[in-house]
């Protein structure tokens, strides 16, 4: 079944939840007007990537006030909405993406598995995959750094996932930028995950300056099983959409030619992973 997936590339007002919610509502409305069925928004879009006590004060209970508002706007525009935010669960905090249905219900919450750098001191890592069957196929949620790990995405695909959704905030500073880390690199990463697994991937990144040192890399992308881009925004705020038909004859035919999954040789990988020689 064909459906329209859209990635939203947004700025974020650091610490200003109301401003961010209003911006999100505008983006959802714009995506809804374009006939979007699934809208993916970036990582921690309610407050930005702030840490420590300030972040903890702003974290969301799920369900809670913020997810209620997101549910309303998802149902108003009749789309699946995936939004990244910081969750508070008792004394624990998680970097999550929340998926709402077109009826405004929470389909599921994914707690990020792979924590980067100082995140580890501040949030707990999740340990459950978030795989959901919806009318368009089997989808999985992932957040930012998860995409660096081919084993993780492969594992989701081995569990039947057809479409990977990634809410992210890839960032850089001068030093990393000079070393070659940029938006092109992250969109190629997304495209390669799609290619090596024969699935579609939609990655929504943030844009804009975070502080005097750091900025977000943009390059939100929708990638095909052939490793090419179906849609991509480079810089700036905006929406990029693609009509996907993940079980179409065309892609079935593709997977009959690009027989990557059946051609794997796990017994050799196991050997290489275990027998370290020095």
């Amino acid at each position: 079944m064909a459906f329209k997936v859209t990635v939203g590339q947004l700025k974020c007002d650091i610490g200003d939840k109301e401003a961010n919610l209003q911006r999100i509502e505008n983006f959802v409305a714009a995506a809804g007007n374009q006939g979007t069925d699934i809208l993916v928004l970036p990582e921690r879009i309610m407050m930005g990537s702030i840490f420590g006590d300030r972040a903890k004060r702003l974290a969301e209970s799920i369900p809670g006030e913020v997810t209620d508002r997101l549910g309303e706007v998802a149902s108003e525009h009749s789309l699946y909405l995936v939004t990244g935010m910081l969750e508070r669960d008792g004394d624990d905090f998680y970097n999550v993406s929340v998926m709402h249905s077109p009826d405004g219900e929470i389909v599921g919450v994914y707690r990020k598995w792979h924590l980067f750098d100082s995140e580890k001191k501040f949030v707990k890592s999740g340990d459950q995959p978030a795989i959901f069957d919806i009318e368009f196929g089997r989808i999985a949620l992932s957040i930012c750094y998860d995409l660096v790990f081919p084993e993780f995405i492969r594992g989701l695909v081995l569990n039947g996932v057809d479409l990977i959704l990634n809410s992210t905030n890839w960032i850089t500073d001068d030093r990393q930028f000079k070393a070659g880390w940029n938006g092109e690199v992250v969109s190629r990463l997304a495209a390669t995950r799609a290619l090596e697994n024969g699935v579609h991937i939609a990655m929504a990144n943030r844009t804009g300056v975070i502080d005097e040192d750091w900025w977000s890399l943009g390059h939100s992308s929708i990638c095909r099983p052939s490793g090419s881009f179906e849609a991509r925004i480079k810089d700036g705020e905006g929406l990029a959409s693609a009509v996907l038909d993940i079980e179409s004859d065309e892609w079935e035919q593709w997977r009959k030619v690009a027989t990557y999954l059946p051609d794997r040789r796990p017994e050799i990988y196991r050997q290489l992973n275990q027998e370290r020689q020095e």
């Binding site: 598995w113 790990f149 070659g180 880390w181 090596e196 052939s226 050799i268 992973n273």
Partner: protein, 277 residues
């Protein structure tokens, strides 16, 4: 250690080993002038890919006449020379091999491609082990073409200590695959991503030209641990060279920030996702 790596992007004269080795010789000369210590030419570069019925007369033992000549070329260039050829094994089987000649002209490694694509498996016997080789510049991992599609495999070579992955390839396309989005950009993006996700350097030497209606995709490249292209040719024959800084402080620092290998959650991949199935 800083070391120059060159990738040769070439067309082949189908079935004409002399013509192809002569071309490799000339391109190696140029790489040598650029100070290359590792020079990679494409998969089955000595014969071309779609050799059909000629395969029995083109297949050679390793070492053999062609590796003798490649050894002389490597010695002349004072560099490691790696590239693809059709091997007739002692068992009589045919292998899609990547041979590695030392600066002294000796065969120091002979890698049998592990991942067979499509009808290759009816022609060649697949290798069944990954190969890493220690050199004075660092530890290199040898791969051929389709091997690069499998992140688990490259990860394994890196876990075995490979600092530089070398790939001789012949990525090809037809009209339909091109329409579906498969391109030289895609293959070079994959190469860059393998470098990024493992925090290592990678050099991929691809073919150009047309054989049997299939177009080779070019886009040979040298990639940094940050997923960046240090050197890349798009189309046409040629050679590009880049210095790679194996084990340098610069990239050690990068890996202290990009802590991808230690941040893996191997037990969860296995327990919850049956990753190894």
């Amino acid at each position: 250690m800083d070391v120059n790596v060159s990738v040769i992007q070439m067309d082949c004269v189908l079935g004409d080993i002399d013509a192809n080795v002569e071309k490799i010789d000339k391109l190696v000369d140029f790489a040598s002038e650029q100070g290359a210590k590792f020079i990679v030419f494409p998969e089955l570069g000595t014969t071309g890919y779609f050799v059909g019925d000629m395969i029995d007369e083109l297949a050679e033992p390793i070492p053999g006449p062609t590796t003798d000549r490649l050894g002389e070329i490597a010695q002349g260039a004072n560099a490691y020379l790696l590239g693809g050829m059709i091997e007739k094994g002692q068992d009589g089987d045919l292998y899609n091999s990547l041979v590695m000649l030392s600066p002294e002209g000796e065969v120091v490694a002979n890698y049998h491609k592990v991942h067979m694509f499509s009808v290759e498996r009816e022609i060649f016997t697949s290798g069944d082990e990954g190969m890493v080789v220690d050199t004075e510049f660092g530890r290199v991992g040898l791969t051929v073409c389709y091997d690069l599609v499998f992140p688990e495999y490259i990860r394994g070579l890196v876990l075995q200590g490979a600092q530089l992955i070398l790939n001789g390839t012949d990525w090809i396309t037809n009209q339909w695959q091109t329409k579906m989005g498969w391109s030289g950009e895609v293959t070079s993006h994959m190469a860059a991503t393998r470098a990024l996700e493992n925090g290592i350097h990678l050099a991929m030497a691809n073919r150009v030209g047309l054989e049997e209606g299939w177009k080779s995709l070019g886009h040979s490249c040298v990639c940094s641990p940050s997923g960046h292209f240090l050197a890349r040719i798009e189309d046409g024959e040629g050679i590009v060279t880049s210095t790679v800084e194996l084990g340098s402080e610069k990239w050690e620092k990068w890996r202290e920030v990009a802590t991808y290998l230690p941040d893996r959650r191997v037990e969860l991949y296995n327990e919850l996702l049956d990753f190894e199935k």
